[in-house]
Amino acid sequence: MAVLTEEQTMLRDAAKGWASESAPVGALRKLRDSKSKQTFDPAAWAEMGQMGWAGVIVPETYDGSAFGYLGLGLILEETGRTLAASPLLSTAMIAASALQLGGSDAQKQAWLSKIATGEAVATLAVDEGAHHAPARTALSATQSGAGYVLNGTKTLVLDGEAADLLIVAARTSGAPGDTNGVTLFLVAGDAAGVTRSHLSLIDSRGAAKIAFDGVEVGADAVLGEVDKGWAVLEPTLDRAYAGLAAEMLGSASAAFDITLDYLKTRTQFGQVIGTFQALQHRAAKWFTDLETTRSCVEAALEALDAGADSRALASLAKAKASELVHLASNEMVQMHGGIGMTDAHDAGLYMKRARVTEALFGGASFHRDRYARLMGF
């Protein structure tokens, strides 16, 4: 754990308490079993809004607490521990970041306070294919009169069905693969021509596929500059990577704690299984990965707070977190034995969530490649 201020410690403890009491793993199971198409529980999100968590990185002028990325990361880690379903990542981390990084005064006025208080759900619509590839944006935005017309499809949009605001990456020039020619647009979730379909995912959270069919927006919908959207999109994605990595760190830590408890109680051959060296060494290696990943996540969040170049650190955090949740969820099932394979046990929920978060916003391969490029090889 980073060296935290008193306020950060209080925030983390509050998040820990709330997540374990009000949004335990059982709540996600309930959401799943209700067959709801909601990706989160609105009542829980309303409570998070009241506690000010949606406005942690938002300046005080827009009703936020300007408490920083490490602060929000601490909450994401705690909600990640219990797999709490909420739009904290999509709205409070990603959309709030994009608006602050690229928004005009009017755009901030219109949206930041609503986000900070939990009134509005907002999300980033970026990926179009099976793999995270922001530069390959193909969804077109063509000029029409004073505004633009959007045509194309986005997939795996987090909380896309519930979102009041979609921040859409579109191509205004160049070809898919170019970082130049990408432009970000603010589009109302219920705008004419927007069709949102539910994607039922293994982790019970779901996401939306969104078709844009001749969606008309005004010139004031452009976030940042035309063709220069990458300058906002890339740092926004860095915040997505770091924030998601914090959440994943929480999930992996919880999977570890649950498994460690099991190792200390389950007996076989007349022994507590945690006394077997084969399992002790695996637990110790897992713990080592937890510790080194924690260092990366915290370093990325701290770099964001310091305003330093955080690109390599964000990819480092997401790659390490992806490897960690992969290991953690596999080891959780294996060390639990048969019980870990049953639907009644939580191990499966951690496994499924791990696979979704691994792929979301780029898997380990994507981030290794990006890291290598940033390091000059």
Partner: protein
Amino acid sequence: MADFGGTDLDAFRADTRAWLEANYPKSLNAPMGEDEAPWGGRKMVWKNPDAKLWLDRMAERGWTAPMWPKEYGGGGLSKAQNKVLEQELRRLKARPALMSFGVWMLGPVLLEYATEEQKQRFLPAIVRGETRWCQGYSEPGAGSDLASLQTKCEDKGDHYLINGQKVWTSYADQADWIFCLVRTDTSKKHEGISFVLFDMTSPGVEARPIKLISGSSPFCETFFDNVKVAKEQLVGKLNGGWDIAKRLLQYERQNISASGFGGGGGLSLVEAAKKELGVDGEGRIADGDFRARLAAHSMDAHAFMLTVRRAEAESKQGSGPSAAVSIIKYAAAKMNQERTELLVEALGLQGLGWEGDGFSADELAAPRAMLRAKGNSIEGGTSEVNLNVVAKRVLGLLDHQ
């Protein structure tokens, strides 16, 4: 971390910078050869007399052991001041004034366990680099199971008599004195071990270097044949040496880890890979598989470095080595082995030379560093032992019943 006045620390930094700039010999700016490592001691041959001058100047201020109390020759610096000193030394790219098992390992336990006379006798000489120490721990039958050691130490009334053999004694052939674990009670395992200090020139001591697969001989077999040791050279209680031994091992692992194992010549992994494997149109290493493995390794190394830094930031002032040290030793060994393997692989045929023409000095250093690194997961506690320590002490898993 604001437990010091910022202004005082700023003044300390200014003074330190000025003193270092005035006193660091310019001739030491050249890269330090392996035969120039400033281990000190009676056998040290100073290739460059300025290196000795640098040692003497630093020792005079106690800055070869900056945080030890001044009454034993140390610098008496606070943790914050020591950090400033380290930063300023790095800024100058200064060579170490002294490399010393005495400073890294023995000194901290003497400060904790020794009598006042012992501290006065041994610590200042360590600070000044006059006494080079070696560590008499492992034996042929006591490696990972260190407490099985058999080297016998008998009470002969006015002195102790030592008989037995140690192995893997680092630089025993170069050392002046040894800190040695001996068996003073054969009826108990852990509670029958004592911690004694003696001169390596004592009659009956013999050290024979062991040649390693890397071609170097940093370790020795060390034999004791009726070695007489004065009773006042026992540290701590008779049969109470195991606690001291464990404490010292913590310092040893911390030190091994902090060193990051280094070595392997001056070649950059990335540059070597680009040169020998070629680059694609975008300047990326052309061999995609190697590039991916290099990226994975670079990220692990980065994560490791951030973890060392985090552990430092979190460890509270004066609370000794943290539990994380065992994780760090395990991870550091793994990192160094991966790094040296990747370098040899990147160099291809140029990374397979043993000596002579056809290879640069850096190229020749690469395979030797790789071979030497195999010992990283063995020395100072094997990786398996370190994982045991994490499982038991950190995770609270129990021994097999």
